[in-house]
């Protein structure tokens, strides 16, 4: 079957790709665009490792088709921070040792950024509920939540 041509925007840059209509956005990001920062965990929308933003909404890229990206604005972990300077959330994840194996970390950072854009001053309960779709099997979440709350404070200009 002929591949479909898709024009989209990823992290603010116009991007084009060819994909099979059944390929997920996660497949396209990792296999066609070599943007391997986005991780595949479950492939069924349960774990959040593949979290990206899609037209501003936080989504699992394993549950979006690549063809649906036509004309959309996509944000991935590669758009957060740059090679010279980490984003505050990334710094805080390091500082609080909020990762071990690292598979959940890109998804958690993308989700944390989405949370703090929507709610710059979340309670710990709000942060835990918002991030309930990002599973971590190493850290037990406490360090992650400390990193999130500390990031929020810094981003509000409080520290």
């Amino acid at each position: 079957m002929a591949k479909t041509h898709v024009s989209t925007s990823i992290n603010g840059e116009a991007t084009e790709f060819l994909c099979e209509p059944g390929d997920t956005l996660l497949d396209v990001l990792r296999n066609d665009l070599q943007m391997t920062g986005t991780k595949e965990g479950c492939g069924s929308g349960d774990c959040g490792a593949c979290s990206v933003t899609f037209n501003g909404a936080l989504v699992c890229s394993c549950l979006v088709l690549g063809v649906e990206a036509q004309g959309a604005e996509i944000g991935t972990i590669e758009g957060i921070g740059d090679n010279d300077k980490l984003h505050v959330i990334q710094e805080k994840f390091l500082e609080h040792a909020a990762l071990q194996c690292g598979i959940c970390t890109p998804g958690l950072i993308v989700s944390t950024k989405a949370l703090l854009e929507k709610n710059p001053d979340p309670t710990e309960t709000e942060a835990r509920y918002y991030l309930a779709g990002n599973l971590c099997r190493c850290t037990g979440y406490d360090k992650i939540i400390r990193a999130v709350m500390d990031s929020a404070e810094v981003m509000r200009g409080g520290a």
Binding site: G45, L131, A132
Partner: protein
């Protein structure tokens, strides 16, 4: 691996044509949070996905004195952010907020939850107690089906080949009316209902219940409208005896199964407890309206 054919028509007519004339299994693609997983696990050689999100009105919602006109494919995250809707239908909005994670809510929709027709779909009891109607467009024209008549079995509904759910209409509630939806899950997030209950009540000036609707889910092959439970509330001040009678009616109407989420006896009991609690919340809200 299923070979997918993808179409994104820009009109209802275009979608109906594609669905009606499909020579391979055809599915409407809304949020895809159920469809993509079901397709990955399917033995079909090929499937047609008709993405309806480019069609005007499918992802919009308007609310006015007549009620709510909901584009069935509006994402739950957009839906739950609408304060104008949650003011009028707090229970319905709560039910959408319970679906999956933040990420899933970024894609999943109320119409998708309805059309997936799971016995445990959280939004369906909340739609039923609010008297919601499904506007279904097909090759022969449009028809309207009450949500309580829409689901016909586990994962099946009344839609025929070529038909599309184009709108969900929820009439404006009477004065002093409100709703609530509660479900029980063993964890605090990211689970499927063991039992769920939606209640809508209308009170008069003295706090007496003059109208009610009760709907339960995850305790029968389809979500149920339980008229006997509503009748137990009407005419009462939602005192303990009336609430217990409503709970008993809901338990009696249920026909749950035992699975790893809970036993049949447990579900039958819990669904009654949820009806009582949801009725109290709905009544508190109705007093404020």
């Amino acid at each position: 691996m299923v070979s997918v054919v993808y179409e994104a028509p820009d009109s209802i007519e275009g979608a109906i044509n594609l669905l009606a004339n499909a020579e391979i299994p055809a599915n409407v693609l809304a949020g895809g949070t159920d469809l993509i997983i079901q397709t990955n696990g399917s033995s079909d050689e090929s499937r047609l996905f008709v993405d309806v999100k480019k069609i005007a009105g499918m992802t919009d919602a308007t609310i006015d004195s007549e009620g709510l006109e909901l584009g069935p494919s509006m994402s739950c995250s957009e839906f739950t952010a609408r304060e104008d809707i949650s003011r009028v239908f707090p229970g319905l909005v709560e039910s959408a907020y319970l679906i999956g994670s933040t990420q899933v809510q970024g894609r999943a929709s109320v119409g998708g939850n309805l059309c997936n027709s799971s016995p445990a779909a959280d939004t369906i009891p909340a739609l039923i107690v609010n008297g919601a109607q499904c506007i279904i467009a097909g090759p022969g024209g449009e028809r309207s089906v009450a949500v309580e008549d829409f689901v016909t079995g586990v994962g099946s509904n009344c839609m025929e080949k070529g038909e599309l759910l184009k709108q969900i209409k929820v009439p404006a509630p009477a004065p002093n009316t409100s709703d609530a939806y509660l479900r029980f899950i063993p964890r605090s997030e990211m689970d499927i209902a063991v039992a769920g209950a939606g209640v809508s009540v209308t009170l008069d000036g003295t706090g007496t219940c003059v109208a009610a609707r009760v709907s339960i889910c995850a305790v029968a092959p389809t979500p149920l409208l339980v008229a006997d439970a509503a009748a137990a509330l009407v005419g009462s001040t939602l005192d303990d005896a009336s609430l217990q009678a409503a709970a008993d009616a809901a338990s009696a109407a249920s026909s749950p199964i035992t699975d790893r989420r809970g036993t049949a006896e447990y579900r039958r009991h819990v669904v009654g407890v949820l009806v009582k609690r949801a009725a109290k919340i709905a009544a508190e809200r109705a007093k404020g309206n």
